[in-house]
Symmetry: C3
Subunit: 268 residues, 3 copies
């Protein structure tokens, strides 16, 4: 049965064991037999009172959209540094905000991916990109504020990714990979589209913070299942690690080795 962690995020949420929303149903019913509640007793069986879970999930949905907003703004600023036009800024913002979750859903086999069934994600990301495009002509966002907001987005995305992966019953180690992927993949694709080597591969504790928080969350979910506090603790761990890294300029060791293959240098 895997790890009995509930998962009911509205947007990123796992949808197969609940009565599908109308839009989704149209899609699914053409491809699969109608979802039968009898098929999934375990997921429902762990819920003593499904109504109790509503409130935290609504909060997670709002936090998720906040993460999308922050990442879209960060993507827009990165695109602006490359002199992209309005459309390019929107595309890079969408990729930054939705790329990680898309990759997670595709590799987990949850299809369609989350933003296809809930247009709010695309809407928020596109609005954030256009707003940034317009406002950046006259305002200048405080760099420190952006870094903190981005760290918050990283923390939210990581925890949502782990939750969703645990919710479909994968191995805890794979759930950690999914959490980190949800948090960092969007930024990596953004950098590739901007013609740069992804910064997070080169220095700074960014993904490492995500990794720590994902590990903490998996551990807590194993020992204290169904505790809303787990997510709060994991988010706090990621925020603390990331902000400490920003403040004291911590970084991981860089790959070092003996001189080798001088003929490869010309490829750079």
């Amino acid at each position: 049965m895997g790890y009995p962690v509930r998962l009911a995020t509205p947007g990123h949420g796992f949808y197969a064991c609940r009565p599908s929303p109308v839009k989704r149903r149209t899609h699914r019913e053409a491809r699969m037999p109608p979802a039968d509640p009898v098929q999934c007793p375990p997921a429902n069986g762990t819920l003593a009172d499904p109504g109790k879970e509503r409130r935290p999930n609504a909060m997670i949905y709002v936090l998720d959209l906040f993460g999308v907003l922050v990442f879209a703004v960060a993507g827009s600023l990165a695109a602006g540094r490359k002199q992209m036009d309005l459309f390019g800024v929107v595309v890079v913002a969408l990729v930054t905000a939705l790329g990680g979750g898309t990759l997670r859903d595709v590799t987990l086999g949850l299809s369609p991916v989350f933003w296809v069934s809930d247009p709010m994600y695309v809407l928020v990301a596109a609005a954030a990109a256009i707003g940034t495009f317009v406002l950046a002509r006259s305002f200048r966002l405080p760099r420190r504020l952006m870094l903190v907001a981005d760290a918050f987005g990283l923390a939210i995305f990581t925890v949502i990714g782990v939750r969703k992966a645990l919710g479909v019953g994968v191995h805890p180690g794979i759930a950690v990979v999914m959490g980190v992927m949800t948090g960092v993949a969007g930024g990596m694709i953004r950098d590739v589209l901007s013609g740069e080597i992804p910064l997070i591969l080169r220095r700074e504790i960014y993904a490492t913070a995500s990794l720590c928080g994902a590990g903490v969350f998996v551990g807590l979910a194993h020992w204290f299942p169904h505790t809303p506090l787990n997510a709060v603790v994991a988010v706090a761990v990621i925020l603390a690690a990331r902000l400490a890294a920003i403040h004291w300029r911590l970084s991981l060791p860089v790959f070092a080795r003996r001189a080798e293959e001088p003929e490869d240098a010309q490829d750079t």
Copy 2:
């Protein structure tokens, strides 16, 4: 029930509600219960006479393959500019021609993706790439002809993408995103593989033309469902916008902002 737009493109087509072709059946039957026509009354219910739809779809299939051909040639020329070898040219041509539709099918959850079940797409793209590779040694394609053909391919891919997305019942706004993605993603991956920042992110009205046409098509499909003319109008809109942009060198405004973060300049 979503938006009742029919969709029966043979290749890019949505396959679950029709008796599958032989090859597909082999694949599906191993993973799902045999497709039951009773599962999908809505899609069939909107078809007064399924036979009537045959001819426009055959035309769309041919146009689709024409789009693949044109994009493969464009991809080959881009690869040639980078001094790639024969294999590299074929790979870049395949990615350019099939990348957008692949991304669309994967995010929509339509699997396997369209070119897996119909080898004609890979065949046309590979033949176009090899033909370009051989002929480019002695001929030179008129640049203007290529631009017009590419605009035509963009228009076809966009409309096919929107049709397919509407056919599985997604929100109209998401269908627009899918149409634009089908039209432009292949070219973006091509540019990334070629080591460039995707040109369409930086200047020229390219994706914007696709966006306008996709919006027009969604609107028409909502108000006048099942009218073959919708696709023609949408293609015309995209072609007109793109050719006007080429002719008068129109472009979107570029991201501008006040000087910021000089320390980031070193990343470039």
Copy 3:
């Protein structure tokens, strides 16, 4: 019915027609009706004695993990050349080792992808990356050994990709594409993340060796189904072609053409 080639690789394997392993079952049962052996008579019908196939598959699983190990080491060294930190090295190693198979599973519609249901793949790749990171500070891997090991990994991945594609009943030509994609896509994403134009697109017979072996395997699988020797022959063909190319520095012709479009030069 497609081409009656069996496929039972444990890790990369096609799982729908066998009693799923425990972890996978948890995932699938929430999304699909329980797998019914009656659903897939053709695949079972071609197996005279399923038990006979066990041993070669265990071997293929080990070889597969060896391929993952080799590709992860190659990815780590490439990341090291770019001065990435420990996390970056692990990410690039994972992408190099698992990217090709992921793309294959996603386009074939086999979800979740292979490494989600078997954590061993991520474990081996991550351990190889960390080991390389640590050891590269004091040791220097012989370049020739790495090239031979990499050729072996390419051969294994290609054959496994073709087998898996044939196992789900796709057209033989598409199976060849899947084999080549499994073998080379990981390395291509690695190069893109490292900020380089993928080397295999530019010179050297690398993907071409994979293509030859994939074609040979599809032909053998068609004429002599269920012969374990097929895979051995295909691996030998790829190894021979690749090692000959390394030894005699063979390469494909490069795209050449008449001078054209000087205004594009500025994009480079």
